[in-house]
C-alpha cells in the first residue's frame, strides 16, 4: 500500500472532522495509506504570513513539507488553499537564493527543506494514482440516477505552472466530474463551473460582495443542472456552500431549498457504506434524506463473485 502524508490544514481537522474521517476510511480501501504529519501547522493560509512576508510564508510552508520529507512520503491535502499555498511555496523554493534564506530560518528549529516531497491534492491522488476504475469497483451503493453539480475550486486549477498535476484544460476542469461519474451519478455541465465561490479573503473582507458572487454561481448550478447535491474537493468551498445557502434562503435571495453539499470523499465513503455518523455528520444543510437515499437498499451493487 502506497503511503502518502495526509496534510490536514485547519478547517478539516478543527471544523469538519467528518471530512478527515472520510479520508481515513476511504483511502485504505483504495490502496493508499494516509500517514499523519505529526505537528503540522497551518499551511500558512493566505491571510497570515503570505500577507506579510514571502520568506516567512515559505519558512512555515517548508516546515510542513519537511515533516513529510523526514518520513520519506509525498503530501496530499484536501484543502485547496493548503494545496495552493504549499505548491506555491515549493515553487518559490526552486529559486536557490530564496531556498538559502529560508533554510537559514529553518536552521533555528533544526530543519532543512530539501524539496524531495511532492504536493498532491486529494482529488489528484484519487484521479491519477487510484483511478476511476478502482473507485467504481470499491462501491457498495450506486448513485445511478442522481445528479451532481461539481465545484472543483480555484486553487486546484491555477496557476498551472506551480502544480505537480494539472487539469487538461483548467478552465474546463474534468477531474472532479470524472470522479463523481465513477459513482454512477450524472454530472451536468454548468457555465460557471470554473468560477470562484467567494469564500476566503473575500468573505472575511466583505461578506455582502462574497454572497453576491456566490449567488451567481449557485444560480448557474441550479438553473443549468438542477442537481440533487453539490460535491466539492475544496474544504473552503464546502464551508461556503453549506454555510451561505441557508443565508441566501433566509433573505429570500434564492427561491429553492439549499442544495445538500458534500466533500467528495464524504460521498465516496457513503457510497462505500461507511457510517454517515462518522463521515458525513456535520452540516448546516439537512442532508439526512439524501444520505438515506444514497445508502438505500435498492442502490446496493450486487457483489461480483
Amino acid at each position: 500500500m502506497e503511503k502518502i502524508g495526509l496534510y490536514l490544514g485547519c478547517n478539516i481537522p478543527l471544523k469538519a472532522p467528518d471530512i478527515e474521517q472520510s479520508f481515513r476510511k476511504v483511502f485504505p480501501v483504495l490502496g493508499i495509506e494516509p500517514v499523519d504529519l505529526q505537528g503540522a501547522s497551518c499551511c500558512p493560509s493566505w491571510g497570515t504570513a503570505p500577507s506579510f512576508d514571502l520568506n516567512t510564508w515559505c519558512a512555515i510552508s517548508s516546515r510542513n513539507i519537511t515533516i513529510a520529507e523526514d518520513l520519506g512520503v509525498d503530501i496530499m491535502t484536501g484543502c485547496n488553499s493548503c494545496f495552493g499555498i504549499l505548491s506555491e511555496a515549493k515553487h518559490f523554493l526552486n529559486d536557490g537564493e530564496r531556498r538559502k534564506v529560508v533554510n537559514a530560518q529553518l536552521k533555528a528549529i533544526g530543519r532543512e527543506f530539501k524539496g524531495t516531497s511532492d504536493i498532491y491534492h486529494i482529488s489528484h491522488v484519487l484521479h491519477h494514482k487510484v483511478g476511476v476504475q478502482k473507485i467504481r469497483e470499491s462501491l457498495k451503493y450506486s448513485l445511478d440516477g442522481l445528479k451532481i453539480t461539481v465545484q472543483p475550486g480555484c486553487h486546484s486549477l491555477w496557476p498551472t505552472d506551480v502544480f505537480k498535476i494539472t487539469e487538461a484544460n483548467p478552465y474546463n476542469p474534468t477531474i472532479l466530474r470524472e470522479l463523481c461519474e465513477a459513482t454512477g451519478a450524472t454530472v451536468p455541465h454548468y457555465s460557471r463551473l470554473e468560477g470562484c465561490c467567494g469564500m476566503g479573503g473575500m468573505r472575511s473582507t466583505d461578506v455582502e460582495k462574497s454572497l453576491k458572487l456566490f449567488r451567481d454561481k449557485l444560480i448557474s448550478m441550479k438553473e443549468e443542472g438542477n442537481p440533487d447535491m453539490i460535491v466539492t474537493t475544496c474544504s473552503s468551498c464546502y464551508l461556503q456552500f453549506d454555510m451561505s445557502q441557508p443565508i441566501l434562503k433566509e433573505r429570500g435571495l434564492i427561491d429553492f431549498e439549499p442544495i445538500p453539499t458534500f466533500y467528495y470523499t464524504q460521498l465516496l465513503a457513503l457510497a462505500m457504506g461507511f457510517d454517515p455518523g462518522q463521515v458525513a455528520a456535520i452540516s448546516q444543510i439537512d442532508r439526512r434524506s439524501l444520505i438515506s437515499e444514497i445508502q438505500s437498499e435498492k442502490r446496493l451493487i450486487k457483489e461480483v463473485a
Binding site: 484544460n169 483548467p170 478552465y171 474546463n172 460557471r192 470554473e194 443549468e224
Partner: protein
C-alpha cells in the same frame, strides 16, 4: 615596409561621446608602420573620404585603417574610396570602435577608450600584412525562382517576368492564390478579394515568362548567387493535368469526405477535389491519404471485370471524368516527379498560418461557435461553407450577438511577443461587412488597443464606430459555455474600470500570425536563418529588408514578418527588383576573401569536405594524387576548412596566418 594610415572617426557623439578620440589617434601614431593618424567628425562623409584619398594620391599611405563603425555597412564606401585613389581596395581594414566600443561600454569611458586602442592596434597589425586581392566574376543564369504562390509570390513573379526574366513560380497547394484567395473582402476599401486577386493569378499563370509549378515543393537547393540548382518535387496528383478540364465531376462522385483546408475545416471536401472554384490552375487532384480506393482500384492495378457485361469495374472518379484524365491503372509514382531548374536568384514568399484556437484554453476551444477570424472569413465568403450567409457553426442559425477578441497569441509571452499587425484591421473589416449586411446584429469588439496605422486605416476604424459597432478597450479574459452553444464573455472595460459580462452567439478570435511548420524544413534547404520572432531573418531590419544573409536569396511577405496585403505587395515588388539585379547584370562579383588550397601541401585527407557548410570543396587529382579543391564561386570565406586543415594547406585570403597572428599579438601586447 607598409605605410599605414589610421583615421579615427567621432561618428558625431556616437563614438566621441564615450571614447576619447584624440587619445586613440595619439596612440595610433605610436604603432609600428603607422605613418599618419588623423581624426574626423564623420569619416564616411565626403570630406572624410577625401582625406583618405588625398593621403593615398600624395603617396603618404598604402594601407588604410578606419576606426569607426561596422564593416557591414561602411566597408564598401571606404573600399570604393581606395579604388578611386588608385589603391587596391583590399588594402583596407576597419576597426569597429562604435558597435564593439562606445555602444556597448557607454558607462565606462576610460575602459572603452582603452578597448578602442586595442582594436585599432589589432587592425593596424593586420593592415601591415595585407596583400592586394582581385575581384572575380562568374556568369549568371538568367532565371528566377519564386517559392510560394500567394499574393506576394504572384507579384514577385510578375515583376520578374515583366522585366524579361524567366521565372518559376512554385506553389505547394494545387492552386496559387494563398491566404488572400480565402478572404471575402479587403480593407480599407472593401473590394472583393477574389475580384482583385483572380485576374492576377490568371495573368501570372498565362505569362509567357512564368512557369507555374502548382502542387510542388522545393526539394533541394544547391549552388550560389547567379547559379542555383533547384530540385522541385511535383507532387503526384493522380490526375492527368494535360487532360483535366477542371469540370469537378470527379469530386462530385468521390465518396470520401475530408475536412476542407480551404474552408478552414468548416466543411468537407472530397478526396478527389479542386481546391476552390477560382483555382488556378483549375485542376483536380486525388488526395491519396484519404482515397478509399473504391472498387478495389488501388493505383497501378488492373480493374476487375464485370462477369456479366465483360466491362471493367472502374472507381467513381475515373468513371465520372469526361476527359479521361483519371486512370487508376497507371502505376503513378507516389513520390511524384523531380524537376531540376537552374536559376540566378530566388525569392521566398511562403507566407504564414494563423494559430489554431485549441491553444487558447480560456477561450472555450471546444465550443463550435468559437472560431478563428480566418474561419469567419470563409463563413462570410460567397465561396465558403454557407455560401456567404452568416450562420454560426453549431446550428446554422444567424447569430444575434458577435464578439471579436484581439491579440490571441500575439503580444503574449506564452506564444508570440510580437504584434501580428493586421488583425485589428481585418477584425474591423469583418465587423463592418457584417454590420452593413445585418444592422440588427450586435457586434462587440475587444481590443487591448486598436492599431490602425496605415493609409486610410484610422478613418476606416472610426467609421466603424459611427456604424454602431461597439468597441471595448480591454482583453477578454475567458469564455464560459452556456446551453444552446452560446457563450458567456468575461471581458473588461478599461475606460470605466469594470468587468463586463454578456452572452454571445459567436466568438471570433484573432489568432496570431506565425510561420507554418514546414517553413523550418525549407529554411534548412535554403540556408535561411530565423529572427527572434521565428520568422525568416532579413539581412538588415531597416536597410536590407528583402535581402538575406545568403546572396541571391530574397524574402517577401509574411514569411519575413506579419504584414497586410499592401505591405506584402510592396515587399514582393522590392524583392523582385533586388532579385533581378544579378540577372540583368549577367555576372556576379565574387569577393576574393575566400579559401584556397595549396595543392602541394594538401595531404588529401578530405577532412575539410564534410565541414564546408556550402558544399564548396571536392576532391581532384593533382600530381596523380587526390587533393582538395575549393569552388571559388561557392566559397563564402567562413574559414572552417582553413582552421580544420591538419596540414595547414588551406589559406583564407584576407585572413591569412600572418595577418591573424599579427592581430593576436597586438591584442595581447
Amino acid at each position: 615596409m607598409a605605410k599605414v594610415g589610421v583615421y579615427v572617426c567621432h561618428c558625431g557623439t556616437n563614438i566621441a561621446g564615450v571614447i576619447d578620440v584624440s587619445a586613440v589617434r595619439d596612440f595610433a601614431e605610436t604603432l609600428p608602420d603607422v605613418v599618419i593618424a588623423r581624426k574626423d567628425l564623420f569619416m564616411c562623409s565626403d570630406s572624410g573620404q577625401e582625406m583618405v584619398k588625398k593621403d593615398i594620391i600624395d603617396g603618404l599611405v598604402d594601407r588604410v585603417v578606419v576606426a569607426a563603425c561596422t564593416p557591414r555597412t561602411h566597408e564598401p564606401i571606404f573600399r570604393a574610396a581606395l579604388e578611386k585613389a588608385g589603391l587596391n581596395k583590399y588594402l583596407f581594414e576597419m576597426a569597429n570602435i562604435r558597435d564593439q566600443g562606445s555602444w556597448v561600454h557607454g558607462h565606462d569611458h576610460e575602459g572603452a577608450t582603452e578597448k578602442a586602442k586595442k582594436i585599432v592596434a589589432s587592425a593596424v597589425g593586420k593592415a601591415r600584412n595585407l596583400e592586394p586581392l582581385e575581384d572575380k566574376f562568374v556568369p549568371v543564369t538568367d532565371a528566377a525562382l519564386v517559392i510560394g504562390g500567394g499574393i506576394g509570390g504572384i507579384n514577385a513573379a510578375l515583376e520578374l517576368a515583366n522585366m524579361g526574366h524567366k521565372t518559376y513560380l512554385v506553389e505547394k497547394r494545387p492552386s496559387i492564390g494563398g491566404v488572400m484567395a480565402q478572404l471575402d473582402k479587403t480593407f480599407p476599401t472593401n473590394d472583393c478579394s477574389a475580384c482583385i486577386l483572380t485576374p492576377m493569378m490568371v495573368e501570372a499563370y498565362n505569362h509567357p515568362n512564368i512557369e507555374t509549378l502548382a502542387y510542388s515543393e522545393v526539394d533541394d537547393v544547391s549552388g550560389y548567387i547567379g547559379n542555383f540548382t533547384v530540385k522541385i518535387r511535383q507532387k503526384q496528383t493522380y490526375v492527368d493535368w494535360s487532360r483535366c478540364t477542371g469540370c469537378g465531376d470527379c469530386a462530385s462522385k468521390c465518396p470520401s469526405k475530408v475536412p476542407d483546408e480551404f474552408n478552414m475545416g468548416l466543411s468537407d471536401r472530397r478526396a478527389a477535389y479542386i481546391m476552390f472554384p477560382q483555382a488556378v490552375p483549375k485542376k483536380a487532384v486525388v488526395d491519396m491519404d484519404h482515397c478509399l480506393n473504391c472498387a478495389g482500384r488501388e493505383i497501378g492495378t488492373l480493374p476487375k471485370i464485370n462477369e456479366k457485361t465483360g466491362r471493367p469495374i472502374l472507381a467513381p472518379c475515373e468513371r465520372a471524368c469526361p476527359a479521361e484524365a483519371i486512370n487508376r491503372s497507371v502505376a503513378y509514382n507516389p513520390e511524384g516527379a523531380i524537376k531540376e531548374v537552374e536559376v540566378g536568384s530566388i525569392v521566398v514568399a511562403t507566407g504564414y498560418q494563423v494559430m489554431d484556437k485549441g491553444w487558447f484554453k480560456e477561450m472555450a476551444p471546444d465550443s463550435p461557435n468559437v472560431i478563428t477570424a480566418l474561419q469567419l472569413e470563409r463563413i462570410i465568403s460567397a465561396t465558403g461553407p454557407t455560401e456567404g450567409k452568416l450562420l454560426r457553426p453549431s446550428d446554422k442559425e444567424k447569430p444575434h450577438t458577435i464578439t471579436f477578441v484581439s491579440c490571441m497569441g500575439s503580444r503574449d509571452e506564452n506564444f508570440h511577443t510580437y504584434c501580428s499587425r493586421f488583425c485589428c484591421m481585418y477584425m474591423i473589416k469583418q465587423a463592418r461587412l457584417i454590420k452593413e449586411k445585418y444592422p440588427d446584429i450586435a457586434i462587440n469588439m475587444h481590443f487591448i488597443d486598436v492599431r490602425a496605422a496605415g493609409k486610410g486605416y484610422d478613418e476606416y476604424y472610426t467609421g466603424a464606430r459611427k456604424m454602431g459597432i461597439n468597441f471595448f478597450k480591454g482583453k477578454v479574459g475567458g469564455l464560459e459555455m452556456l446551453s444552446g452553444d452560446r457563450l458567456r464573455v468575461l471581458a473588461y472595460d478599461m475606460e470605466s474600470a469594470v468587468n463586463i459580462e454578456y452572452e454571445s452567439d459567436l466568438v471570433v478570435l484573432a489568432t496570431a500570425v506565425e510561420l507554418p511548420q514546414d517553413a523550418t524544413t525549407l529554411a534548412q534547404k535554403l540556408g535561411l536563418q530565423f529572427c527572434g520572432a521565428n520568422f525568416f531573418r532579413e539581412l538588415h531590419p531597416k536597410l536590407g529588408p528583402v535581402e538575406t544573409a545568403t546572396e541571391g536569396l530574397f524574402l517577401a511577405g509574411c514569411c519575413q514578418g506579419p504584414k497586410d496585403i499592401p505591405d506584402t505587395v510592396s515587399q514582393a515588388k522590392a524583392a523582385a527588383a533586388a532579385a533581378a539585379v544579378p540577372l540583368s547584370q549577367g555576372k556576379v562579383r565574387i569577393e576574393p576573401i575566400i579559401s584556397e588550397v595549396h595543392a602541394e601541401v594538401c595531404s588529401g585527407c578530405g577532412i575539410c569536405i564534410p565541414l564546408c557548410p556550402y558544399h564548396a570543396i571536392s576532391m581532384t587529382t593533382f600530381a596523380d594524387r587526390p587533393r582538395a579543391q575549393i569552388e571559388m564561386s561557392a566559397c563564402k570565406g567562413c574559414g572552417v576548412c582553413t582552421s580544420a586543415c591538419p596540414s595547414g594547406a588551406i589559406v583564407l585570403h584576407g585572413y591569412d596566418e600572418t595577418q591573424i597572428f599579427a592581430q593576436i599579438e597586438a591584442l595581447t601586447a
